[in-house]
């Protein structure tokens, strides 16, 4: 029986030898950090305009993570392409000839891609925090402040989980285009719109992105974002359930369908 180590090495080679890996991850990092820096700088300059609830719930850590909403889209593209290109190129049939144990193939692919996503996401998260705080001047938080380290590590976890969600969805749909066509509008439109609609708001809180991003807030209702019925780790737990569902769904499709 083939063991995981060679398959992991093979999947790692696959990931590092395509240009899309470099571009998507670089974009995720740059967009998150740059947008976070811009928002932090603007906040610093307009801090005196803040009033009432917004002032009371000012969360410098969360402000520096403002770029996540856009940077996560590049993370999604990374996760989708890692899986989707196997299908669009027909490589999947060659891959499964080399590793016919589909469970092993799947776990190794997800593991290799997740490991890389994790490293980039953590780097992004710490970079965006420190740069953001530097630009927030007198209003900055310190990494040693209560719950701040949790939020920063959480930001990295969130980005990693987003990539994993994309991998699971792409395996289920077996198509990059279809997966991006569903995930992009969902993250960019559906989820924010639902959270703004009064009736749908309670439901929208349990969507993977909204539940997961709770961990990046040091102040629970940061910038008047509303209370959540779960805590930071509870939110990550909810997101984990979504990710698990997507990955298990992907496994079942891969296991049971003709390649």
């Amino acid at each position: 029986m083939s063991s995981p180590a060679p398959v992991l090495q093979s999947e790692w080679t696959k990931i590092r030898t395509v240009a899309s890996t470099k571009w998507t991850l670089l974009l995720a990092l740059l967009v998150t950090v740059a947008l976070g820096a811009v928002v932090s700088a603007v906040m610093n300059n307009t801090f005196d305009d803040l009033e009432g609830v917004e002032l009371a719930t000012f969360d410098p850590t969360y402000v520096s993570f403002a770029g996540t909403s856009l940077g996560q889209l590049a993370m999604i593209v990374f996760g989708v392409l890692v899986v989707g290109t196997e299908y669009s190129s027909g490589m999947i049939r060659t891959s499964l000839q080399a590793v016919p144990r589909r469970g092993l193939f799947y776990v190794c692919k997800i593991a290799a891609a997740t490991a890389l996503a994790f490293v980039v996401a953590m780097l992004t998260s710490f970079l965006t925090f420190f740069l953001g705080q530097a630009l927030l001047g007198d209003h900055a938080a310190s990494i040693g402040d209560e719950n701040v380290l949790r939020a920063v590590v959480g930001g990295g976890l969130y980005m990693t989980l987003i990539a994993m969600l994309a991998m699971g969805v792409a395996t289920m749909l077996r198509s990059s285009m279809l997966s991006l066509g569903i995930l992009m509008p969902f993250m960019f439109l559906v989820s924010p719109i639902l959270s703004a609609v009064p009736g749908a708001k309670d439901f929208a809180r349990y969507l993977p992105d909204q539940a997961g991003s709770r961990i990046m807030r040091v102040v629970p209702n940061a910038l008047n974002s509303g209370e959540t019925p779960y805590g930071p780790w509870g939110g990550i737990g909810i997101m984990l359930l979504w990710v698990a569902a997507a990955l298990i769904g992907g496994y079942l499709v891969l296991k049971n369908r003709d390649a």
């Binding site: 083939s2 080679t13 030898t17 196997e86 027909g90 490589m91 049939r93 590793v99 016919p100 003709d258």
Partner: protein, 327 residues
């Protein structure tokens, strides 16, 4: 094994064995179920019923399968954004095949010069060579190629023919599909013919040729009855074909017939030696696959049975009568 897609039966109770040391040709028209069968052999598709064992094992049970069985299914089943070398490297790594072997197979298929180029820029022929390289990667005992000559230039076709023969000569099992009989005639030692997912023939190439490459002479004369009598007196077996011509077995019968006609002062309008090609035999076999299967499943002699079915009037009742007489 059987494979059903919805209502379509792609592979219908197909059963055969492939043995080492030979090139086994897997022949059938487009849509006969060749590729489906090959995908099932590799556990890519699950059969609706039955299964494939490779030396008693399922493909998915093979440890490091590339070292056991190599296959080329489609020319472009590689990531186009990755170089030829890296495409092969990630396959090699998954089966613990040393890196040096990647350079080796690229050299064997003649792609060393473009090893670092992205494979999406490859022509169909180059893609085919890359696919063959991936099949050879693990130096496997069993090799399977699906339409390997597709897209290759004449030099490439010549190369793949020799490659397959050499691989078989080394004692390996070579299983190659094609929809071209002429191609198979040049490479295969053994033939498995399928049509509409059913087995039509499982025979050695030599037998197939002996049975099907019939040569005969077509004779046509306005003095039809006189010619028939002359044949009878001379002891020549002539088969009457529907359109009023005769067919006489043997390519060298033309000389005897010409002389016979001259002796009897008979006018001939046609005296032409004919050779039934293997391609014709194959087309005949697969065209009526359902019927043949119903009467003689897997009997290689049935579809190629000599007789008036070769003539233009094949299928006509009088021709059938003549077959009986002749027999």
């Amino acid at each position: 094994m059987t494979k059903r897609y919805g209502k379509t039966l792609a592979v219908d109770n197909l059963s055969f064995q492939v043995h080492p040391g030979h090139v086994t040709g897997f022949l059938g028209p487009n849509g006969a179920g060749k590729s489906t069968t090959m995908r099932i052999m590799l556990d890519l598709d699950a059969p609706t019923a039955g299964g494939v064992r490779i030396d008693g094992k399922h493909y998915r049970e093979l440890a490091e399968p590339l070292s056991y069985m190599g296959a080329l299914l489609e020319a472009k089943a590689m990531h186009g954004g990755r170089s030829a070398y890296n495409n092969l490297l990630c396959l090699a790594q998954s089966n613990r095949i040393p890196r040096a072997r990647v350079d080796e197979v690229l050299d064997i298929v003649g792609l060393s010069a473009v090893a670092r180029k992205k494979s999406k820029g490859f022509s169909l022929g180059m893609g085919q060579r890359l696919g063959i390289a991936s099949a050879l990667l693990g130096d496997p005992k069993i090799l399977m190629f699906d339409e390997p000559v597709n897209g290759l230039d004449p030099e490439g076709i010549h190369w793949i023919r020799n490659l397959m023969k050499n691989l078989a000569a080394q004692g390996r099992t070579v299983f190659v599909s094609s929809h071209l009989m002429s191609e198979m005639a040049l490479t295969a030692d053994h033939l498995i013919v399928i049509g509409q997912g059913r087995l039509l023939a499982d025979t050695s190439m030599a037998d197939f040729i002996a049975t099907n490459s019939r040569s005969y002479v077509r004779v046509r004369s306005p003095q039809h009855e006189e010619l028939k009598d002359a044949f009878q007196r001379a002891g020549l077996t002539a088969v009457e074909v529907g359109d009023g011509s005769f067919e006489v077995e043997g390519a060298d019968a033309a000389k005897a017939i010409g002389e016979l006609a001259a002796q009897n002062s008979l006018t001939l309008h046609e005296l032409s030696p004919q050779q039934a090609s293997l391609e014709e035999a194959f087309m005949q076999m697969t065209a009526g696959s359902v019927e043949y299967h119903a009467h003689h499943p897997g009997d290689p002699t049935t579809p190629g049975a000599p007789g008036p079915q070769w003539g233009p009037g094949w299928g006509g009742a009088p021709a059938g009568d003549d077959t009986e007489k002749k027999g």
